[in-house]
Structures are given as C-alpha cells and as structure tokens.
C-alpha cells in the first residue's frame, strides 16, 4: 500500500477510534484497547514514513 493510501486508512481508523471512545455503550476496556492499538498504528506509520 502506498504512503498516501496508508495515511488515508490511518485517518479513518483514528476517526473510528474517537467514535468508539465517545460511545458510552462500548465498554471502557474495549475503548482502551482500541486507543492502544491505534496509537501503535500511528507509531508504525511514522516509522515507515521516515525509514524509506
């Protein structure tokens, strides 16, 4: 996947995670896991961006 496509996908994922965190119906543990996974994805994307 190109960096552009990865970036768009990451922004979508960030938006979904924000919705998950704000949704009171979603258990807190699930929201915490979603945020941790997304932060990890942001780190991985940044690493890939600068290590070419």
């Amino acid at each position: 996947m190109s960096h552009d496509a990865e970036f768009r996908s990451l922004l979508d994922r960030i938006e979904e995670t924000e919705e998950t965190v704000q949704d009171e119906e979603v258990p807190l543990e699930e929201a915490q896991d979603a945020v941790a996974d997304t932060l990890e994805a942001i780190d991985a994307f940044e690493d890939g961006l600068t290590s070419d």
């Binding site: 190109s2 960096h3 552009d4 970036f7 990451l10 922004l11 960030i14 995670t17 924000e18 965190v21 704000q22 009171e24 807190l28 929201a31 915490q32 945020v35 997304t38 932060l39 942001i42 994307f45 940044e46 961006l49 600068t50 290590s51 070419d52």
Partner: protein, 325 residues
C-alpha cells in the same frame, strides 16, 4: 603590475603595440558615438524579458542576431514574443564590456513569428485534450523521478526544496539535455524510462527565453507528458513561463524550487498532525475514564445509601415491633 617594457623584453612584442583594457574600452566607446547608432529605430522580436528595480531588460531578436536592450523609463507593458519597434541609442557599457540598446520608447507592432507558432500549437494541443490534466500526484511519494540536466542549478534547487519537504523519499535521477538539438529526444527517453517505475516524475529547468525553452514547447513532449501513467510535475523557467510541457503536466510549478515544494507534503506537517491526533485520543480516553470513575462512584454512593436506608428501615421496624409488643 608588469610593464609594457618588460613584456617587450621578455616576449619581443613592441611596447607601443601593447594597450590596456581601459584604453581599448575608451576607443570602442568612442566608436559607438556616431549618428548611425544614435536615435535609431530597431525592429525585432522581444524575448528574455525581466524587470529589476523598475527597469526592463530584454533581448531583441531577428533570426540568429540579437541585441541586448534596457528601458529605464516606464512605458507599455512588455510581453515575451511581441514584435516591437524600439527607439533609442546604442551605448557601450565599459564596465560590462558590451553594447546595449538604451530604449526611450517601445512600440508593440505585432506578434513575433516564434510566439505566433507557439500559440497555434498550444491551441491545437488544447483542442486535443492534451492540457486536460490527469491524476493528482501522491502527497507522500516514496520514489520521485527527476529529469533535468545533471549540472543545472535547477536540479539542486529542486532537491534542496524537496528534501525540506520529504527527506525520506528516494530520488531517481535521469539526466537529459534541457536545451539544444538533442534535448527533446533525451527528455522523451528519460520520461519513458521512469514512467510506471516511480510515484511522481519531476521535470525541471531554469529560466530562459522562448528559444532556450524550445524543447519544453515541443509537441511530442507535451503529448508524452499527457499520456504518462505516472503523474508529472513541471517546474520550467520562471513564474511567467507558460510552456507546452507545463500545460500538459498534472501539476504546474512556477520554478524548480516550487516543483520541489509541490512534489511532496512536508513530512514534519504530517508528524505534527499525527501528534495532535495522538493527544486528542489520549485526552478523549482520559475523559472517558474520568466519566467511568464518576459513574462508579455514584453507584457506590447509591449502594451505600440504599444499605443505610435498609438498616434504618429495619431498626425502625424493630422499634415499632417492640412498642407494639
């Protein structure tokens, strides 16, 4: 400084045959002071026009001949390619060692031949859809193909600007002449070589007059740029140069430096944006955790209150039962 007498001694050239730059410049300057070169009207095609500190500098062309011109006064707006009649006098500038036509008036009289042909070609290509544009180049390219002359300032200007934007992307350079008889063929070959193998092709060249930029106004080059699978960015000449290559490209940049800036989003901006998202996610999660903790506290308090109420009721009932008994 070596004297003429010493040169005569060392090299055998008579001292009275030796002159200096200032002496010969004075002779040339004097020769230029003739009625033939004063108050002349010269007809030619205007090219290589630039403005500096309110003065106009340009070249008048006629076939292979050209004449440097300068206009210190305001007057009609000058356009590249116009056929003009220039009134003025020829001056010899000793400091620069060259003659120039000092214009007192410039009268546009028509469109120059080269310029006219170029306008006709642009119209034809426009009608054929060559200038309709194509795919947007990626904002975060991983590989960029750079087509230009290896020695050109344009190359270093592009790279310097691009590296500020994106220090990580790979640059694949394909050298090509950007002027002269072989230029079109080499540019076509370089673009063909890179097409489909990189994310973006950048085609750059420094400024020049209509003649210098001839290769970038070539029909075959325009058509090839429009047909490439890979998006093309051009930065050819100065901001006012509208070449066929620039019109056919997916992105037109004013200069090679501008092309370097437009070839990639600045990575540090992307990193800043991601950092903001990180912070927002963490803040939103912290707010959610505080809310969750408050809810639990309310529930605990409600349980305590219910338990207390039950005890009070039980005690009340016990007291009431004792009284009755």
């Amino acid at each position: 400084m070596v004297t003429a007498a010493e040169i005569e001694d060392d090299h055998g050239i008579p001292a009275d045959h030796i002159t200096t730059v200032s002496s010969i410049s004075a002779v040339i300057e004097d020769r230029f002071r003739t009625p033939e070169l004063d108050a002349v009207h010269v007809l030619g095609e205007l090219s290589n026009h630039s403005r500096w500190k309110g003065n106009d500098f340009f070249t008048l062309k006629d076939g292979d001949d050209q004449l440097s011109c300068v206009r210190f006064s305001d007057g009609v707006e000058l356009h590249e390619g116009d056929e003009v009649l220039v009134r003025g006098s020829i001056d010899y500038y000793r400091e620069k060692g060259r003659a120039s036509l000092k214009a007192t008036k410039v009268i546009p009289v028509g469109t120059g031949e080269l310029y006219g042909k170029l306008q006709e070609l642009k119209q034809e290509l426009r009608e054929d859809g060559v200038f309709d544009g194509g795919d947007e180049p990626p904002k975060l390219p991983e590989t960029v193909g750079l087509v230009t002359s290896p020695e050109a300032d344009a190359r270093s200007d592009f790279l310097e600007a691009f590296r500020v934007q994106n220090p990580a992307a790979e640059i694949r350079s394909r050298p090509a002449s950007v002027q002269g008889d072989d230029a079109v063929e080499e540019l076509l070959a370089a673009i063909d070589d890179l097409d489909g193998t990189v994310d973006t092709i950048a085609l750059v060249r420094g400024g020049g007059d209509i003649e210098d930029l001839r290769a970038f106004n070539d029909e075959a080059l325009g058509r090839q740029i429009a047909a490439t699978e890979t998006p093309v960015i051009t930065g050819v000449g100065h901001r006012e140069d509208e070449t066929v290559a620039g019109l056919a490209a997916d992105v037109w940049a004013m200069t090679p430096t501008d092309a370097g800036r437009k070839a990639s989003t600045r990575l540090s901006d992307v990193q800043d944006q991601l950092q903001e998202h990180r912070q927002q996610l963490q803040e939103q999660l912290a707010a959610r955790e505080r809310f969750h903790e408050q809810q639990r506290e309310i529930e605990r308090r409600q349980r305590r209150e219910r338990a207390l109420a039950a005890v009070i009721i039980a005690l009340t009932l016990a007291i009431v039962a004792g009284v009755v008994l």
